[in-house]
Amino acid sequence: MEAKVPTRMGDGYMVEMTRSELRADLEDATQAAAGKAKVPPLAQEELDHLLDIYASRAAFTSVDIGDQVVLSCDGGGSKMTGTDLLDLLESEQRLGQDILELWHIEYSYKAIKTILPFQQQVMQNCQLMMTAPVQYGAQPNLAFYSKPDGPADNWFELLPRGDIAGARAAIAEAMDHATKDFIYVGEGMLDAGADGMDFDTTGGAGDADFFSTLRAVKHLRAKYPDAGIEVGMAGEFVIGVHGELEWEGRRLAGLWPKEQLEVCQDAGATIFGPAVNIRTGKSCAWNAAYSITVCKPAMDVARIPVHPNVGEGVGGVPVNGYPPEDAASRAAKAHVDILRCDGL
């Protein structure tokens, strides 16, 4: 009888599977990803390597010596253990993070606009105390610009009524407000000494969310040629809420990581973070193979660093407030070893 090894499901629950069952999951995942994203499946030797990673009984795993990558970390300066400055110092001095990130719990550019001087002061103070680069991060969250939270009509109410033209007009109005806010906050934080900006969870409200972010990226790149600009995505493909938005002739709706990367690097981003959401009913091995298959084509065309998202619920890391170390470390190693990515 084939021995079983402890492994995880996408929600973090520990189960036991045989090596054969894990292999079947990996093969199913790469075929599913290839079919959906219209990309090549992983090669046999890549699946074999993933199997070695996931069929291990080790409590923790890591990349080989010399293969370490740059970590861009959101959530460093969170005030969870004191002040945001102290959190960042801990992240730098104790966790050894490569790129630190100051952020506020009101993690939307729209909200940050109202407290920009406060955040600028914190950034200035942090920069005096830190050696490692500190970027500022927030989410575009375009939906906050629609009623009742914002000024534009709510396109999620107009679309079900069949008012496509009205919905698109509302989206256009929201995008104008959003891009202005992203630029206002971006300029403010870079002027305060930030080493870069992070547009985190971009595309969460669809193609318009992505488009309004790309406009801000292009503006900031032109004005601050040496600043870091990271665009981290919300999901594996861009949802077409507007449906007709194009970036330099390319329709944004339905883009997968390779094409997402291409528009981001053309707009002026310096780090791209693909995000592939987890399926909680599938094993972590399945989820890692799916994520890697979807992201792999991006590596061939990347002119800028690619940092796949391996936070809670993305990139093969369980959607759990405390992602188990065995699963999170396997996801990290799997992405670095197979993708040869530039960071996480």
């Binding site: 105390m129 000494g193 930030a194």
Partner: protein, 108 residues
């Protein structure tokens, strides 16, 4: 989770040369291998040394690039934080925004 990723795959930040390689990714959009080679060239070490805390603790100390401080490893009189960033900007040949701002606001 931050600890997990730092141990599983991270370069090590300023414990090693992770912050320096990160700066080349951010400021120049360099991919990992060119960024590592660039930083290693500037430091006069091998690429593998960049994520070796033993090697980098000595190299950072020699070049005044800032080192991790703890109770048994203190370096008063040695550059750290903003002071170290002046040296990092010069070593890497990239402007650091906070250094420029410090220079401007301090009237240097």
């Amino acid at each position: 989770m931050d600890v997990t990723h730092a141990l599983a795959a991270g370069m090590g930040g300023m414990r090693t040369a992770g912050d320096l390689v990160a700066r080349m990714q951010m400021a120049r959009g360099m991919r990992l291998e060119p960024a590592k080679r660039y930083v290693a060239g500037k430091l006069g070490c091998t690429v593998r040394d960049l994520s070796d805390s033993y090697a980098m603790e000595q190299i950072r100390g020699e070049k005044g690039l800032g080192r991790i401080l703890d109770h048994s490893n203190l370096h008063p009189g040695e550059p750290n934080a903003m002071m170290a960033k002046f040296r990092i900007a010069e070593l890497l040949g990239v402007p650091i925004r906070s250094v420029e701002r410090f220079r401007e606001l301090a009237g240097l």
